[in-house]
């Protein structure tokens, strides 16, 4: 397996590199100009030109590419155009922890709720509860996240005022003490994590239900029941363990989805995470930051897929890598 992982890792290098090269050309050929903001009455027409010169955008495209390539090979992805010339990885280093926190909480919530709902649906197959949960899950699964987020804000932040509408902490949260600060932080995360996880949980619930139903029909479950084991033990010890195996692989592959979902959530809930950075970089035509973000998300997707494949082999010994 180690050889397989090494081979996949080596293969991912040209893959990610190809993605970056494509991104480099696509964003430069797309309409829009990073210096566009400086083209307005009252600002000398020279400014936009000087800014472009500073960003190295006056060189022909192939020259820009070679220069960029040389820098990237040395690990230098450049400085952000739109964020005070901060090195792009510094920008990302500030944003990534926020997104990782949201993603981790979402992943946990996703699987917890997904598995619980999936089991209930499978055990009570075709009952009213199963139908209700199935319809509800489908309802949430097909709902656009940004819309759902706004609805949650209207209900829980505006009408009921249970949760804050945005931000990571209350004003003056520093004075609450470490525990109070943490509670305040979690408080602010409830709505966004709920929005982000409800969609994924609904999908996982469908998956668990299917897998569980398949397992329940197996001979060894009938044997367990025939032995006179209580239903609880049959479901949780015998059926669930086997039904969950394929679900593990979902973990790897759901990472990219969670990250792309964070895009909307961070803009709506005003979290300074990777999603916000990406969206703003695109609107500002901040080329170095767009490329660095592509690098991070591309790497995540490649590794997410690798993780999924490896987990699959770990969970199911019949699959050899």
């Amino acid at each position: 397996m180690l050889t397989y992982i090494l081979k996949r890792l080596l293969l991912s290098i040209p893959l990610i590199f190809g993605v970056l090269t494509l991104t480099f050309f696509i964003i430069r050929l797309a309409p829009g100009d990073p210096a566009a903001f400086f083209i307005q009455p009252g600002i000398s027409p020279n400014v936009a030109e000087q800014i472009r010169a500073q960003y190295g955008l006056n060189d022909p495209l192939p020259v820009q590419y070679v220069k960029w390539l040389a820098n990237v090979l040395q690990g230098d992805f450049g400085r952000s155009f739109s964020r005070a010339q901060q090195p792009v990885f510094e920008v990302i280093a500030q944003a990534l922890p926020v997104t990782v926190t949201i993603a981790a909480l979402t992943l946990v919530a996703n699987f917890t709720f997904g598995i619980v709902i999936g089991i209930i649906s499978a055990v009570r197959q075709n009952s009213f509860l199963d139908r209700f949960l199935t319809v509800t899950a489908l309802f949430f699964y097909s709902m656009p996240e940004f819309w759902f987020a706004l609805m949650m804000i209207i209900v829980f932040a505006l009408k009921l005022q249970w949760f804050p509408a945005s931000g990571l902490n209350e004003i003056g949260a520093e004075s609450f003490g470490p525990f109070g600060f943490l509670v305040d932080r979690i408080w602010h995360l409830v709505l966004p994590v709920t929005v982000l996880s409800i969609n994924g949980a609904a999908g996982i619930a469908r998956y668990v239900r299917g897998s569980m139903l398949e397992v329940i029909r197996q001979d060894y479950i009938r044997t367990a029941r025939a032995k006179g084991l209580p239903e609880n033990v049959v479901i949780f010890r015998h059926a669930l363990r086997n039904a969950l195996l394929p679900v593990i692989t979902l973990m790897g592959s759901s990472l990219p989805f969670i990250f792309s979902g964070a895009l909307f959530i961070e803009v709506i809930f005003a979290f300074p995470g990777m999603g916000r950075v990406t969206v703003e970089a695109i609107f500002a035509r901040d080329y170095p930051l767009i490329i660095a973000n592509t690098f991070i998300s591309g790497t995540l997707i490649v590794f997410g897929n690798l993780l999924a494949d490896v987990l699959y082999a770990v969970a199911d010994p019949r699959i050899r890598l």
Binding site: Q86, L105, S166, A270, P317
Partner: protein, 594 residues
């Protein structure tokens, strides 16, 4: 097998952990606000003003900061040579030094914040000498001296630094030959004397405007190379002398300003902390104002006012204006011919001013205002704002909404209905695409009304929305025949960029409008050494623009803000919302409840 079991065990633990976390979340959600944090939170809120902003500041450095947020905040951190104030009775900009006023002041602005004690304009209007006060200090204790200005003006003019304010140096000696001769243009015989020299006579108001750029502390910045200027760590920790200083800056999250206890320019800010929170989503900003999480939200849509005021009686709305207008741009020239060989021919649809006037009369501007802006909009005649009272031409009556008159004007120009009901002239249909930028609800609303109005006359107007960057680039390259956009005007009238006949020089003349008299008027008005003497030129200018209708001016917009009632002392006007924020006070929440 061992491996699988191991995973199962780990997974089991994960499930247990998740269950605990979920239970915790449920617990929090059922017990309401966390105990204890409420009182402390209220105390913190009583001493903190919270302003919700759409976007972060780019640089808190007056030389390179370019966003509105940046200049709002820089204005509180850094000292100014003069204080400027907008006189609402005349619409003229006034400048104050500690001991001298350019015009009689209406009391809006305190001169104590100015670094200049006084100034003298030379008789030939080719130099201005400032005498600075000697009791102003940077936050690090060093005095603010004339050398700081000389040093900073070199930065403003340095092409490597690319300051968006380099236009302010356009009259200094050497600027006419391409680069300012700083040794001769700015002199500092001693620490409190600052002399600017111009290559031509400059009206005093313009000299004051252009020489009062904000200084940086030279002793801190002098060793920073120009190429490192934008990335210098000093940008993250600005050292100023104003009523506030930067306490913390969480990028894309919040900026916290604390009252600067040492400041005497004019004094430490009344409110201990000002928190500028970045909240990109409009609905969320509105929700936060409604729940008292923030105190000020800018640019509230008029349609949201009544719900907001009903939901939170502790909020009031305010409006300022008029600085912003929307218009429908008609390409006056045939862009295809212009791009092909630089030839200037009238546009086949919009080339004639009669047709453009007919289009204006076909559009029901009052209906757009009544339907969307309500009392926050008024019909726009030209690009000189009614707020600039000294120059505004009151005798111009707006073109009325008169579809019948519009139809007959079009018929006189040869546009007659074809078999499909659409107007035709020499086989060409009156059919075009009206472009606008995405994400602007007001323009979306207006464009639909315009489409219907024009359809009633037999004009086929299709709507297309483009991403803002793309839209702007197309406009810049004069690729669009018809579009809807807006301008925010400066407080100094200088319309040559937008209407100048030299299309290569006038980069914002997207329509390709050309009228030599307009060029002449703009030049003549600029030459007047007393600003108000140019008044008659501007009256004539408005008559011409109104007659020629290079674009259809739609409406002026009053910019609207939501304000918490716990704020008092605010004085908003067209020159800014936050300019006297150091005088604002907050009523404690307990008093408000009573």
């Amino acid at each position: 097998m061992m491996r699988v079991e191991h995973i199962q065990m780990r997974y089991g633990r994960e499930i247990a952990f998740s269950a605990i976390l979920a239970a915790l979340m449920l617990l929090f959600s059922s017990c309401g606000r966390t105990p204890g944090s409420g009182d402390r939170g209220a105390a913190a809120r009583d001493s903190t003003l919270v302003i919700a902003m759409l976007g972060d500041a780019d640089y808190l450095n007056p030389v390179i900061g370019s966003s509105v947020t940046s200049s709002n905040i820089s204005g509180l951190i850094y000292p100014g040579l003069l204080q400027s104030e907008f006189d609402t009775t005349t619409g003229l900009l006034n400048f104050l030094a500690l001991e001298k006023k350019f015009r009689p002041s209406n009391g809006g602005r305190k001169p104590e914040a100015a670094l200049a004690r006084t100034w003298v304009m030379s008789a030939d209007h080719k130099s201005i000498t400032y005498i600075l006060r000697n009791d102003a200090f940077w936050d690090d204790g060093k005095p603010v001296v004339s050398g700081d200005f000389r040093f900073t003006y070199r930065l403003y003019g340095n092409p490597v630094i690319a300051s968006p304010r380099q236009q302010y140096l356009a009259e200094l000696i050497g600027a006419d030959r391409g680069s300012v001769d700083f040794d001769r243009a700015i002199e500092t015989p001693d620490d409190t004397t600052l002399i600017f020299r111009f290559y031509k006579p400059v009206p005093e108001h313009l000299a004051l405007f252009h020489t009062s750029l904000t200084p940086l502390p030279a002793h801190l910045w002098q060793n920073i190379k120009p190429e490192d200027f934008r990335s210098s760590p000093l940008n993250q920790k600005p050292v100023g002398a104003g009523p506030y200083r930067l306490q913390s800056w969480g990028k894309q999250q919040e900026m916290v300003l604390a009252s600067n206890r040492k400041s005497n320019l004019p004094k430490p800010g009344n409110i201990p902390l000002i928190n500028w929170r970045i909240v990109p989503d409009y609905t969320v900003r509105l929700a936060q104002l409604q729940t008292n999480t923030v105190d000020i939200v800018e640019n509230i849509k008029p349609e949201d006012f009544s719900a907001l005021l009903k939901a939170n009686p502790g909020v009031e709305t305010k409006s300022v204006g008029l600085r912003v207008y929307d218009y429908v741009g008609w390409s006056n020239i045939d862009q295809a011919a212009y791009h092909k060989n630089g030839q200037i021919l009238p546009h086949p649809l919009f080339g004639s001013s009669e047709v453009r006037r007919a289009l204006t009369m076909a559009i029901d501007r009052e209906a757009i205002i009544d339907g969307y802006l309500k009392e926050y909009g008024s019909v726009c005649n030209t690009d000189i704002s009614p707020s600039l009272k000294w120059a505004y031409n009151r005798s111009i009556a707006p073109h009325p909404y008169d579809p019948a008159a519009a139809a007959s004007l079009l018929e006189k120009q040869g546009w007659r209905p074809g078999p499909d009901g659409i107007l035709q002239k020499q086989g060409r249909k009156f059919s075009f695409v009206l472009y606008t930028n995405s994400g602007n609800a007001r323009r979306n609303y207006a464009s639909v009304v315009i489409q219907q109005n024009l359809k009633a006359l037999g004009i086929d107007c299709r709507l297309d929305v483009q991403e803002s960057n793309v839209f702007f680039e197309n406009l810049q390259n004069r690729k669009l025949d018809a579009w809807m956009a807006g301008w925010s005007i400066g407080l100094e009238i200088d319309p040559l960029d937008v209407w100048g006949s030299d299309l290569k020089k006038s980069t914002f003349n997207f329509t390709g409008y050309r009228n030599p008299r307009i060029d002449e008027i703009c030049e003549l008005a600029k030459e007047k050494l007393v600003q108000t003497d140019a008044g008659p030129y501007w009256l004539e200018y408005q008559e011409i623009i109104h007659r020629d209708q290079p674009v259809t001016f739609l409406y002026w917009i009053r910019e609207t803000l939501g304000f918490s009632k716990r704020i008092s002392g605010e004085q908003l006007n067209i020159s800014g919302t936050f300019y006297n924020i150091d005088d604002w006070t907050l009523t404690p929440s307990s008093n408000l409840a009573r």
